[in-house]
């Protein structure tokens, strides 16, 4: 059981990286990756929301949608749950930990509609994970997002100061870099666990 969970998270983080292999959450990956500091803040918030959202959406699916046979309303219901959850978490953090709110708070509203969060919730159901697996999967998905975006932010910080041809400056070189990192991550496809 424990070994399975560890393997699940390693697979999620390296082999099936959410951003670089599954191409989920590309918007914040490109948008909030100019500085390592903000990238860390963003990915911490994403990790947190993904973990909680995995748990919440699992419960909604299992105890509301499945018994009533309306699994096809999954997307709508999950978006609703995630949005409410993010709002709620934002309020709670703002009340009880202003310091955390100041470092995480500005990213929280951005995450509401992050497709990686919805993706992890839906994947939990299609992969038929149970509650614990879902939470671990959500947490690892967050970590995989963090790994990708922090690596990418580090590269982009260097790009700022490098001598790049005028036409490639900004987004073009960032996209090329993202592609190269994604290709590098393909190397992990060779990992086999038995």
């Amino acid at each position: 059981m424990i070994i399975d969970l560890v393997l699940l998270s390693i697979t999620t983080i390296l082999v099936n990286n959410f951003v670089l292999v599954k191409f989920l959450g590309c918007c914040p990956f490109l948008g909030v990756s100019k500085q390592v500091d903000t990238a860390v803040g963003m990915s911490l918030a994403v990790t947190f929301v993904m973990t909680v959202a995995s748990a919440a959406t699992y419960l909604v699916q299992t105890f509301i949608l499945n018994p009533l046979n309306i699994g096809y309303m999954q997307t709508v219901a999950f978006i609703l749950v995630i949005a409410v959850l993010v709002q709620f978490v934002e309020m709670v953090i703002q009340k009880f930990s202003p310091a955390l709110y100041n470092s995480l708070g500005i990213y929280l509203p951005l995450i509401t509609t992050n497709c990686a969060v919805l993706g992890v919730a839906i994947l939990n159901i299609t992969e038929q994970y149970d509650f614990i697996y879902s939470v671990v999967y959500g947490f690892s998905a967050g970590l995989s997002f963090m790994l990708a975006i922090v690596l990418f932010a580090g590269v982009r910080e260097r790009l700022e100061t490098s001598d790049i041809p005028e036409v490639m400056k900004g987004f073009p070189i960032a996209l090329v870099t993202a592609g190269l990192i994604a290709m590098a991550f393909l190397g992990f496809q060779g990992l086999k666990f038995n």
Binding site: I70, V84, F88, M91, V92
Partner: protein, 264 residues
Amino acid sequence: MTAILLPVIVLGGLGIVFGGLLGVAAKAFRVERDERVEKIESLLPGANCGGCGYAGCSAMAKALAEGRSMPGACAVLKPDASNQIAELIGLVANVAKKRTAQVLCRGTCEHVAQKYQYDGIVDCIAAHRYGGGDKACQFGCSGYGTCASVCKFDAIHIVDGIAQIDPEKCVGCGTCVSVCPKGLIEVMDADKRTVVKCKSKEKGAALKDICKVGCIGCKICEKNCTTHAIRVKDNIATIQYSLCVNCGVCVEKCPKQVIEWYER
């Protein structure tokens, strides 16, 4: 029928329950925000120039509300807004004096001779490169409006070939001061005072030929000044405002009317 109603009811119910939860949570976890921050922000200029040292007007408003800054730190704040902010944050009579910029030249087209015809870029710095501009006086305003183009408050206009500053619109931010290639613009307190409106270091006799309204360094003001506040150096009168008592003798005596009352 149930196939349609059921999801509507379930999702609608979910929505209502979540909405209610959020509503309760919003009440329960309400954070007391400082109302003054918004009020202060609405009083600040909103140009987000960053001159105060904060990231923008909203950051400045927060700093003001928390007592980390003073209204005076904002160079472009109007005095009445400054007073209102001071009231909001409990400061008394910390009134910022209004400051405005002054163009120290009266050499309009009819008063100054032309050296040559300038057809270059309409820009003072460009014109200044060609022998100090097309006007015969190399110290005076060339009137190509570089100051007017940098003014964010629409306070400077070129009238009759020299820059004129609208004291109502001018906020004294000093942006124009640094771009004038002749160094003709100064920011000073906007209260009643005398101003020498010339910067020419030309000798009197030579200046008379090129400008009808320039300071010729005759020293009449220096001799007549009741408090010895005026010194003529390099053929130009300068007023030391720490000594000036605004008696106005210099304004009366100046044969060229170079010294003017500056009053807003």
